[in-house]
Amino acid sequence: MHVDLPGLALVLGLLILLGLCLSSCGYGLALALKDENALSSMLNTLTLPVFLLSGITLPLSLAPPILRTLGNLNPLAYAVNAARELFPGHIASPAVVEGFLLTGMLALLALLWVTRAFQKATA
């Protein structure tokens, strides 16, 4: 297995953006729901399809056409494709640019949403 250090550093950068986006979504949901049971069931219900349709466990190229279409609608699939291109070192690849742009935009949107939720909660 050939690991490329600059690629790995960029994967960590991608994970940071992804974590910003997802934790903001988690906080936004927590502030909206305010109850542990509701939050737990909601999070599990939402993360499971996103996780399964993102191509982490099995690559989406092996999936039937309908699952592949659903995977193309899933932002996490683009992040996974970007990580898969960065890991062996193909840094200049359209999948990488797509993944970073999409994750960055979603992180920005999620941060704006959760900032507004915090402002309302602590007004």
Binding site: M1, H2, V11, L14, L15, I16, L18, G19, L20, L22, S23, S24, C25, G26, Y27, L29, A30, L31, K34, D35, E36, L39, S40, L43, T47, V50, F51, S54, G55, I56, T57, L58, P59, S61, L62, L76, A79, V80, A83, R84, L86, F87, P88, L111, V114, T115, F118, Q119, A121, T122, A123
Partner: protein, 112 residues
């Protein structure tokens, strides 16, 4: 500048709490490691199927596990926020001039 300082304040507070009980970090690492070592080898024969992306099973699967680690480590951080909500921490934040954007930024950072 104010944003950076506020983020640093919250970050140092969060990371002190994490360092006091690092058990949660180890537990959070457990699921991705299970997937990597218990599920990864099963993909070896699958890597010869024509539809599989190029590079071999380990090179294709490991970045996926890293993304999964990022996903599952961060999504469930809302529970910590709920505990703080109940204990009144958020109430007390109302009177501080802390930037509200620093709240998610400062809490997310210790997840790494």
């Amino acid at each position: 500048m104010k944003l950076l300082r506020d983020t640093w304040l919250l970050f140092s507070w969060s990371i002190n709490r994490t360092l006091r009980s690092p058990v949660w970090a180890i537990i959070g690492l457990f699921q991705p490691l299970c997937y990597l070592f218990l599920f990864g080898p099963l993909l070896q024969p699958l890597s010869r199927v024509p539809g599989f992306p190029p590079g071999g099973a380990a090179t294709v699967f490991t970045p996926g596990v890293m993304v999964m680690m990022g996903v599952f480590g961060t999504v469930f951080s809302g529970f910590g926020l709920l505990t703080e909500l109940r204990s009144g921490f958020i109430e007390r934040l109302r009177i501080t001039p802390l930037s509200r954007l620093a709240l998610p930024l400062g809490r997310t950072s210790p997840c790494y």
